[in-house]
Amino acid sequence: MNFPDNLKYSKEHEWVMMVEDAVALIGITEFAQSELGDVVYVELPEVGEKITKDDPFGSVESVKAVSDLFAPVSGTVIEVNDSLPDSPELVNEDSYGDGWMIKVQMSDKEELKDLLTPDEYAEYVERQQEEDDEEDEKDGE
């Protein structure tokens, strides 16, 4: 599993890349897409919409499930990846690159401090996977 160094991560499995001073590019991580399976549709906000940290800003659908996308930071949406409606598989194939979702003009740069570093996120994912295994063990005692 890949955890690129130049990104920050949220506990909801989004990644954030600072492309300019207060401008963040956001998408979901490789771990997230592998949990979801083949992505068939991404519901994204419109340019101009305001998003709030920790609130849902859209959703991502696979054949069997829908997951909310939670804003890792607050701000205004200034760009949306318009390749995704026609090619949702980009989220699976290139989660950190062509599978990017929205670009946000941040309203509070301090929020970046709450995000995880690549190492912290990698550890978090490992713990999640252990917990899931325990859950499965518990089913049926």
Binding site: G37, V40, Y41, E61, V63, P88, E135, D136, D139, G140
Partner: protein, 500 residues
């Protein structure tokens, strides 16, 4: 005592679409042309229906006959879909439903012309009251989900009349998806109650979440694990004590006829699925019927019209000011109701009680024989269905989906999979009472064989099915490309698709 499984579908090919066959001006229907055709002003008259099929009568029949060969069905294969009650659909019901005196009836005819029909409906209501232990029944809802909505609307109307419709409904985590969906349609928020380590809801949990903003608790009994909700009467008391009501999803009624009546469990409203417990055919996805039974406290809110028995005749009455109104047009899925009525009189009290006994016996037999090979999440006694998981096979890289697909190669329809959501990889098996021991043994043999294949040849299982008319279908592709109608695409998936 095994029996070679019947009816494996051969490697057949699907016929072309009806739009890809035929020839201009062919028709399977002779009707003379009218001499005068300009009655309606031309600006309202359409051109011909572009793309509509033009086939001869034999072409039509061949097409659909060939299509039918591609289906598994109860009459062809054992169909142990948990929660669906795929029992035998009696042929006598079909004969009766086709009697002109029961099918060529107009619902807006004067009631004097439909007295036989109204008597049938009136009696069916009473039969369902007796079987469920409730006080009144409406036959209108077209399916279980519509029944749920009707029941919840009545509960809401009742509470509104008391002064406060309230805001929340408690729904177990094992509930069928229609349960929370129906709550939303009725304007309620859903609060999920987790099942405990025995797979059921315990009354202590309910006590902690029950308050005066909870309108109702929805419960399925036995639940979707096939386990009897032992605490149900105590739970009902807790909910009633704070002014809430109990709604029961009656999808699993097949387990308890003559054993326990919902009306005695503290249930205030429930729906029954006639296409499950009462043998009406599933039809590939309907039509069904979801009549709702209620206790006296909800009678004023029943939908209109209602059938009443006058001194001389049966009448339809709408003069019920507190009724929730109409949930659908006319009287309900009458054709389905006729079949259920026929089934109930055929079986009688003794037949219905034996039905549940045998349904539970068959399910317990399957459970006992399979527990050596598949993981059982709960050790509680099961009733008419049992749930396994793929925990053992997962370690070998074989999952529930693969087991299901491999069963197709053995000529069985798989059980319900991945439901309930509370356990991972659920396999829900409901044999029903109409299966003989030899069929059960064939199924068990197949399941045991697959468990062995998982150890010795996992790839065979992972790439199943191999012998069905089509192999695994690309569902992600379907959702991405969204081709929902014929627009000129070629058969054999050659990739050439015209603009839709």
């Amino acid at each position: 005592m095994s029996k070679h499984s019947l009816g494996t579908v051969n490697r057949l090919r699907a016929p072309p679409l009806i739009f890809e066959s035929g020839s201009p001006e062919r028709s399977g229907f002779f009707w003379p042309e009218e001499k005068k055709t300009d009655w309606i002003p031309s600006q309202f008259v359409r051109d011909e229906i572009a793309g509509f099929p033009e086939l001869g009568e034999l072409e039509v029949l061949r097409h659909f006959t060939c299509l039918s060969h591609l289906n598994y069905s109860i009459e062809g294969q054992f169909y142990p879909l948990g929660s669906c009650t795929m029992k035998y659909n009696p042929k006598i019901n079909e004969v009766v439903a086709r009697l002109p005196g029961l099918s060529l009836l107009h619902p807006l005819a004067p009631t004097v012309l439909i007295q036989g029909a109204l008597e049938l409906l009136y009696d069916l209501e009473r039969m369902l009251v007796e079987i469920s232990g409730m006080d009144h029944v409406t036959l209108q809802p077209a399916a279980g989900a519509q029944g749920e909505l009707t029941g919840l609307m009545m509960i809401r109307a009742y509470l509104t009349a008391q002064g406060n419709p309230r805001k929340k409904i408690l729904v177990p985590d094992t509930a069928h998806g229609t349960n929370p969906a129906s709550c939303s349609l009725c304007g309620y928020d859903v609060v999920q109650i987790p099942s405990n380590e025995r797979g059921i809801i315990d009354v202590a949990k309910v006590r902690t979440v029950m308050d005066e903003e909870v309108a109702a608790l929805m419960i399925t009994n036995p639940n979707t694990f096939g386990i009897f909700e032992q605490d149900i009467q105590a739970i009902a008391e807790v909910v009633h004590h704070k002014g809430g009501l109990i709604y029961m999803d009656g999808a699993n009624l097949n387990a308890i006829m003559g054993i326990a009546k919902p009306g005695h469990m503290g249930v205030d409203a429930l729906h029954m699925n006639l296409h499950k417990t009462f043998s009406t055919p599933h039809g590939g996805g309907g039509p069904g019927a979801g009549p709702v039974g209620v206790k006296d406290i909800l009678r004023d809110f029943l939908p209109i019209p209602r059938i009443s028995k006058g001194s001389k005749r049966y009448e339809l009455r709408e003069d019920f000011p507190l009724s929730i109104g109409r949930v659908r047009s006319f009287l309900g899925n009458f054709g389905v109701l006729v079949r259920a009525y026929t089934y109930i009189i055929s079986l009688g009290a003794d037949g219905l009680e034996e039905t549940s006994r045998m349904a539970v016996l068959n399910a317990n037999y399957l459970r006992k024989r399979l527990e050596e090979y598949y993981h059982l999440p709960y050790s509680e006694p099961c009733m008419h269905e049992c749930v396994f998981t793929d925990r053992v096979q997962q370690k070998l890289g074989v999952h529930t989906i693969d087991i299901a697909k491999r069963l197709l190669d053995y000529g069985f329809h798989p059980p319900t999979i991945y439901f309930p959501l509370v356990v991972s990889g659920a396999i829900m098996i409901e044999p029903t009472e109409t299966e003989d021991p030899e069929t059960l043994d064939s199924f068990i043999d197949a399941m045991i064989s697959i468990a062995r294949e998982a150890k010795e040849n996992a790839t065979l299982v992972n790439t199943a099915p191999h012998s069905t008319p089509v192999q695994r279908l690309d569902e992600a592709g379907a959702a991405r490309r969204l081709v929902l109608r014929w627009g000129g695409s070629k058969p054999e998936g050659s990739g050439q698709k015209a603009e839709r």
